[in-house]
Symmetry: C2
Subunit: 310 residues, 2 copies
C-alpha cells in the first residue's frame, strides 16, 4: 500500500477530517463535533481517537501513514505553537507536539486560512503553481501566502493576514482587530453589506437592494441585473480588494490569486471588478497575474492539512 | 583552508566585488568599471577575469571556492534569468549560467535590492533574524523580503518591489514605473523633496527649507531644528511609509524592518516617524516588529551576493 495521510481542519463547531493518498486522492472524509467546553481540552483527544478508529476501520498499517496535518483557527508558528485560538478556548501551546503524543504519528500544524491556501495550490484553483495567494471572503477576510510551495507563516504566525491590510484612511468604524480601515471592513460578506447600506443611505436612486434583506449575494445578483447602485458598491469593493492585492503582488509576486469564501459564489463577475483595479495599481511585471475562483470549498482545509505532511 | 566565496554587486557604473570567508569575514574587496557599451557584453567576462585574477593573486585552491553570488539591477528569476537590466544594456538571459561558463564556478544570481536585504540579514541590521524586510530609501525605494533566510523572488522577479505599493489615490504625478501614487513617489530621496516642495507651495509659514536647496537631508536636518513645516513633511513621509510597511507585515510578518539608503542617514529620527504610523496601522500581532538602520551601506550587495552561495 502506498503512503496515506490525514488532513484535519478544526472549526469552532465541527472538525473536518480527511484520509488522503499521496497523489491527492480522497479515500474518505468525515466530521466530528468540536467540543470547546473546558478550554477545548477534549478537541485533540477526540481527533486522535477518530484517527485511530479510521486506521482500524480501514486496516491501515501504521508505517503507511505519512502523518497528520492540522489546520487551526488562530495564529500558528512554524514550530506548531498555536497562539490563542479563541474560538476553541485554546491558549498558547504546541498543538503539533500534543497531537503527536496522542497519535504517535508525525504531525504538522498551520493556521486554517494558510492551510486552505496550500490545499487550493495542491488540488484546487491554484493547481500547477507553487506561488499562490488565496483570499477567503467570508464573514471576515482571510488569506494565505504560498511561496515556492511553502506557507509564509511569518514571525508571529500573522503571515497572510491580508484582511487587515489598511485600505481606507477616512474609515470611522472599528474592525474586529481594533484598527480602522481594514480590507476586511470592505471586502468580507459583512463588509459588502456595510458598503451597500452606506450607498443606500447616501443616495435616493431606486435600487433592487431597497427590497428585502441586503447580503453580499443580493448585491452581486443586483449587479447582474445592471442595478446602478449595486454596481457602484461592486466598484468600491473592486477598488479596495484590487488595490490591496496589487500591494500584495508588490511584496510576494504570486503567479495566481485564488478567491474563495462565501462572497466568491458570485462567480467570475467578482474577478472582473477586482481585476479592473488590480491592473491599474499593480507593478508592471505583475499585471498579468492570474485570478481564479477557489475549487475545493469547505474541503480546502483538509486538503491543505494533508499536504503539510506530504 | 576553509571555504571562501565571491560576492559581486553589479551597478550601472562600477561592479563591486568581495572575497569572503564562510563566517562572513571580508578577506578583500575591490571595484572594476562597468562597461555598458555593446549591450553590456563585456560585463560578465570582466567579472570572470577579475575573479580569476584574485584567485591567482591569493593563491586560492579552486576546490576551496564555494561559488560566486551576483546581484543585478533588474528583475532576476529563481533560476538566474535576468529580465531586462536596462542600466546595463542587458536583455533576457540566464546570468547565472553565463557566469558559470566563464568562471567554472557555481553561480547564483539575484536582484540587487533582494541581495542587499540578504546581506543585511546576514551581517548587518537584521543580524540574528531569518525574517527580514529591507527598505532602501535612495533615488527610488527598493525592497527585499527574506523569509526563513530565503529571498522571496516572486514569479516575475518582482518580489519585494515595495517602492511600488500604492499609497495615494489622489496623486496626479506619474511614478517612474508608470503608475500614480506609489510609495516611491513619497518616501524616496526625490519623493521627500517633492513632498517638501508641495508643502512650501501650500503654506506661507516661515521655514528653514525656504533657504538653500531642498534635499531629504535638509528636510530631516530642519526637523531636528523643530521646523514646523519640515515636521509636517516628516509626518507625511512617516504616514506613507509606516502604512505601507504595516501592509507588508500583514503579508509576510517579518521580525525586523531594516531601513537603508541615502535617506536613512537622517538616523533614528526617521524610524520614529515611520513607527508612529506603523503601530497605528499594523495588525495586532505585528505591532512589536523591530526597526533598525542598515549597517553595511554600499557593501550590503557584496555581502548578500556572497551569502547566496553559502
Amino acid at each position: 500500500m502506498s503512503k496515506v495521510c490525514f488532513g484535519v481542519d478544526v472549526g469552532g463547531t465541527t472538525v473536518k477530517l480527511g484520509l488522503f493518498q499521496a497523489d491527492g486522492q480522497v479515500m474518505d472524509k468525515w466530521e466530528i463535533v468540536t467540543r470547546t467546553q473546558e478550554k477545548g481540552k477534549h478537541i485533540l483527544p477526540d481527533i486522535a481517537a477518530s484517527i485511530q478508529a479510521k486506521i482500524s476501520e480501514k486496516a491501515i498499517e501504521i508505517q503507511d501513514v505519512a502523518g497528520v496535518g492540522i489546520g487551526v483557527p488562530g495564529p500558528v508558528k512554524e514550530d506548531g505553537t498555536v497562539l490563542n485560538a479563541v474560538n476553541l478556548g485554546w491558549g498558547i501551546f504546541n498543538v503539533a507536539n500534543e497531537l503527536e503524543k496522542l497519535t504517535h504519528l508525525k504531525v504538522k500544524a498551520g493556521n486554517d486560512a494558510n492551510v486552505a491556501a496550500l490545499g487550493e495550490m495542491w488540488q484546487g484553483g491554484g493547481r500547477g503553481s507553487k506561488n499562490v495567494v488565496m483570499i477567503t471572503l467570508g464573514t471576515g477576510v482571510g488569506g494565505g501566502i504560498i511561496h515556492n510551495g511553502e506557507i509564509i507563516t511569518g514571525t508571529n504566525g500573522a503571515g497572510g493576514e491580508v484582511g487587515h491590510i489598511h485600505v481606507e484612511d477616512s474609515e470611522t468604524d472599528t474592525c474586529g482587530c481594533g484598527k480602522k480601515g481594514c480590507l476586511e471592513q470592505m471586502a468580507s460578506a459583512t463588509g459588502v453589506v456595510r458598503l451597500a447600506k452606506k450607498a443606500l443611505e447616501l443616495s435616493d436612486s431606486p435600487s433592487l437592494l431597497r427590497n428585502g434583506e441586503i447580503s453580499a449575494k443580493a448585491v452581486f445578483d443586483a449587479v447582474k441585473e445592471n442595478d446602478a447602485l449595486a454596481i457602484s458598491v461592486a466598484e468600491q469593493f473592486g477598488k479596495y480588494l484590487g488595490t490591496a492585492l496589487a500591494n500584495v503582488a508588490a511584496v510576494t509576486d504570486p503567479e495566481v490569486f485564488v478567491i474563495g469564501g462565501g462572497v466568491s459564489k458570485a462567480g467570475s463577475i467578482l474577478i472582473d471588478y477586482i481585476k479592473k483595479y488590480y491592473v491599474l495599481r499593480a507593478f508592471a511585471a505583475c499585471k498579468e497575474t492570474k485570478f481564479s475562483l477557489a475549487e475545493l470549498g469547505n474541503d480546502a482545509g483538509i486538503f491543505g492539512a494533508a499536504k503539510l505532511v506530504l
